[in-house]
Symmetry: C2
Subunit: 439 residues, 2 copies
C-alpha cells in the first residue's frame, strides 16, 4: 500500500459491526485507513450464544478481518491491543508502536457490567467474546460429563443447574437453546436423568425483553415457562460463588454455572485526558457522532451515547459506520459533518421451541414467523458463503433433527474439585457402583 | 445401563482408532464395556495437519465419543485421565476413582519422540493432538500478522521460515499444504513479500517416506522441491531454540517455527509393575495381541509391538480392534484367542500440488490418482455426515479456489517478544513508516 506524501490517515479502533462498516465505507475516501483490532477476526456476536450451546462451531461466527477487507483499497489492518489514546497529540498507542492519526473512529464496543456484585467477575460466565462462548460450552460439557458419573444427588443437581442472569435478548436466547439442548443430551448421556436439568432465568425488571413492547415480553415469559425454563422476574442476584448463586430476596441456589447477561457498559480504551461520558461509561457524542470536544474523533456503536436513544443492536452500529464514513469524507473535502438518524427496520428476538417475537413498524409478531425471520436475517448477514452453509447445516441438525455436536472440550481444566472423600465413590473398586444409583 | 450381577467388565483405555473399534466391535459381547479417554471426542489424526494449516476447522476432525457409541449396547464412556494401571489387582486408576476390570485393552497411542535433543520439548510444535494442531495454526497466523508489520528484514525472515523435522507422511503432508497456503496468504497479506516464505523439510534418512518403496520417496522429494520446499536429506537437528534451529552438520537457521514430526514412541500409562517393552517403549504382545505375561490384557495400535512389523497407520489399529474384540468374545466363551494378521489394502500419502503417492498390492502410483484416492479414503472414513460435508467444502475452497479461512487466533500469547528498541520502529509516530520498506 503506497501512501501519498500528504495523504491523511484515519484510524479505526475495533473490527466489530461499526468499525468494520466504517472501514469498508471509507474505501474510496482518498485517505489512508488503518483498522486496529485485538483479534484477527470479526466476531458475529448475535450467534455467540449458539456457540456456547454447542449448536454452531466457533469458526462459523468468526471471519478473518483481512479476508473481509480484501477488496477495500487504501486500507491496512493491524492486529494489536490499544493501550492508550491521546487526543491532544492525535496518537493511538499499542504495546508495540505509537500511531499518529488525523481522524479517529472509536468502535470498541461493550463489556459486561458486573454491577459490583461479589463473585460475578470470578465465577460468572460471560458471552461477549468468542473465547468466552467457547469457555462456556466447554464448561457445560464438563458439567454433563461429571454429572453422568456423580453419585451424590446434591452435587449432581448443582452440575445440572444453569442460572442465567439477565432477561434481555442474550438471556432469553440462551435459556431457549439450553432447553432445546436436552434432546441431544438424552441421546448422548443415557445414564443422566435429564428431568433434573434446570434452566433458571433471572430478570431484575418486571418483564423480559424490556426493549420491546410489554406484550412481547409477556409472550416470551409464557413461552419460556412452557418450555420448562424457571423464569424469575423482579429478582436480583446479590452474590455468586463457584457452587452457588444468592438472590437478594434471600434464597441460595446450588449451581456450577452462572451466566452473566445482565447488561453491558462501554469498553473504552484508556484515554490520556478522559472525555465526558454518560451512562454506562459511554462517550457522549454530538448528533454527527463526533465527540463533544474533539471534532477529529468519532465514536459509534456500544461505546457511544448520542442524543437518540439506541439499544445496542448491530443495525445501529452498521448505520453509524456508514454515517461516520460519509461525515469523514465530508470533512476531508472541507464540508461540515451531518447529523445521524437511525432508521429502525424492526426488531426480532428468538426464544426457542420454534418461536420468536418481533416488532416491524407498528406490527407485533409472535410465534414461528419472527423465529424464521430471525434465522433468515442472521443467515444473510453472516459474512462468508461457507459460514452460511455451515450455519444452515448446523440449524438443520439442531432445529430439524434435534441433535447437536457435543464435542470438543479442548481444554480440560478441573471443575471446582470437591473434597476427595466425596468424589471417590463415583466409580469405586466395587464394580456394582458403576451402575447409576436407583432414583 | 443395568449390569447383571455376574456380568464381566472389559475396560478399554483410549478412544483412538483402535480403542473405539474395539468398543464398537464388543457391542454384543454380553460383557459390560467401559471406554475411557481423556477427551470427550475421537480425534481423526490423519487430518490434523490440515487443521494446523488453516485448511479445515478443528471441529471437523473431532467427533464426540458418546455420539459415535449411541447405538452400541452395554457400553459406558468415561472422560478421565488414567493415572495408573495395576495388572496384579486388575484395576485402572483415574484421578477420581479406581475401576476394576476383568479384561483390559490398552489403546493409548503414541507421542512424539524428542530423542533427547535440547529445546525440542520447549520450542518444538507437535502434531499429535487437536490442541497441538490448533496451537500450531494460531502460531503460524501470529507469525504472518507479525511479519506483515515487521521492518527488520532478519526478524521478518525468521517469522516466515518454517522448519519441519521428519520426512514421514506427516512432515511431507505438512510441507505440501504449507506451500499451498501461499496462495491464500497472498490475498490476505498484500503487504507481505511471500517470495521470502521458506518451508524447510529435514529428514535424517536418505529419503522421504521411508515406509514406502524408494521410488515413491524419490518422487516425493522431486515433487516437493518443484513446489518450492527446501528438502534436506541425511540431515539431523542438534538443537532448537525459540528463534533458531541448529543442524548437526553445523549451520544454524533463524526460525520461529520448528515442527517436530520426527518419530513417535508409545504413550504408555503408568503401570504398577511395568511389563516388557520393545523399541520406542512399545508393549510386547503375542500374536494374539495379549501382553506377554498378562493374558487378560491386550495392547493394540501404536502402543503395541507384535511379531508382525507394522508402521503405525489407522487401518492397522482398526483391524487390531476387530481382532481383539473377537478374541475377547472367545475368551468370554472359554475359547483360546486367535492370532492377528494384518491385511494390507495399500498405502497412500498426499504430497501437495494435486499429487500423492501410493502402493496398492504390487502397484506403485504417483501423481493425481493417489492424491484423489487419499482424499476419497479420508472423506469416507471421517466419522459423521456433517463433518464429511464440511470437509468437502473445505477442500473445494482450498484445492479448488486456492483459498483458506485464515481466522481465529483464539488465544493471543505474545510471540517471543524482542527487545522494545528493535520492535518500536515497526509503526512509529512518523506516519511514513507505516508503509512497507522498499525491498
Amino acid at each position: 500500500m503506497d501512501r501519498q506524501p500528504n495523504q491523511l490517515r484515519i484510524v479505526v479502533i475495533g473490527a466489530g459491526f461499526g468499525g468494520l462498516q466504517t472501514a469498508q465505507s471509507l474505501s474510496k475516501s482518498g485517505a489512508e485507513v488503518l483498522l486496529i483490532d485485538r483479534h484477527n477476526y470479526h466476531t458475529f456476536v448475535p450467534l455467540l450464544y449458539q456457540v456456547a450451546a454447542a449448536q454452531v462451531p466457533p469458526e462459523t461466527v468468526a471471519y478473518p478481518v483481512r479476508t473481509l477487507l480484501r477488496r477495500t483499497r487504501n486500507l491496512r489492518f493491524l492486529q494489536a491491543e490499544v493501550t492508550r489514546v491521546n487526543f491532544a497529540q492525535r496518537q493511538v498507542e499499542t504495546r508495540e508502536a505509537v500511531i499518529a492519526y488525523d481522524y479517529l473512529v472509536l468502535a470498541t464496543g461493550s463489556q459486561p457490567q458486573h454491577l459490583g456484585i461479589p463473585g460475578v467477575s470470578e465465577h460468572g460466565f460471560m458471552l461477549k467474546t468468542l473465547a468466552q462462548a467457547v469457555a462456556l460450552r466447554n464448561h457445560l460439557l464438563h458439567c454433563f460429563e461429571q454429572a453422568e458419573r456423580e453419585t451424590d444427588p446434591q452435587i449432581r443437581q448443582r452440575l445440572l443447574t444453569v442460572v442465567i442472569v439477565g432477561g434481555g435478548p442474550t438471556g432469553v436466547e440462551l435459556a431457549g437453546t439450553l432447553v432445546e439442548l436436552k434432546q441431544a443430551l438424552r441421546r448422548d448421556y443415557p445414564g443422566l436423568d435429564l428431568g433434573t436439568l434446570q434452566i433458571v432465568l433471572v430478570q431484575s425488571g418486571d418483564r423480559l425483553l424490556p426493549n420491546l413492547p410489554a406484550r412481547l415480553g409477556r409472550y416470551t415469559t409464557r413461552k419460556l415457562r412452557r418450555l420448562g425454563v424457571n423464569v424469575h422476574l423482579e429478582t436480583r442476584v446479590s452474590r455468586v460463588t463457584s457452587t452457588t448463586v444468592t438472590f437478594a430476596q434471600g434464597p441460595t441456589l446450588g449451581t456450577e454455572t452462572v451466566i452473566w447477561a445482565a447488561g453491558l457498559e462501554a469498553a473504552l480504551p484508556a484515554v490520556a485526558t478522559p472525555p465526558p461520558t454518560g451512562a454506562k461509561q459511554k462517550l457522549k457524542v454530538r448528533a454527527t457522532l463526533q465527540l463533544l470536544h474533539e471534532p477529529q474523533v468519532y465514536a459509534i456503536g456500544d461505546v457511544a451515547q448520542g442524543e437518540e436513544p439506541l439499544t445496542g443492536v448491530a443495525p445501529e452500529a452498521l448505520q453509524q459506520g456508514v454515517a461516520v464514513a460519509r461525515n469523514l469524507r465530508r470533512q476531508l473535502r472541507g464540508q461540515a459533518p451531518k447529523s445521524f438518524h437511525y432508521f429502525n427496520k424492526g426488531r426480532l428476538a428468538i426464544i426457542g421451541g420454534w418461536a420468536g417475537v418481533g416488532k416491524i413498524g407498528p406490527l407485533l409478531l409472535t410465534g414461528w414467523l419472527p423465529w424464521l425471520l430471525w434465522l433468515g436475517v442472521h443467515l444473510v448477514y453472516l459474512p462468508g458463503w461457507r459460514n452460511r452453509l455451515v450455519l444452515l447445516l448446523s440449524w438443520l441438525q439442531s432445529y430439524g433433527l434435534g441433535d447437536r455436536p457435543l464435542r470438543l472440550i479442548l481444554s480440560s481444566p478441573p471443575l471446582t474439585p470437591p473434597p476427595p472423600s466425596q468424589r471417590l465413590p463415583a466409580i469405586a473398586a466395587d464394580r456394582a457402583s458403576l451402575d447409576p444409583p436407583a432414583e
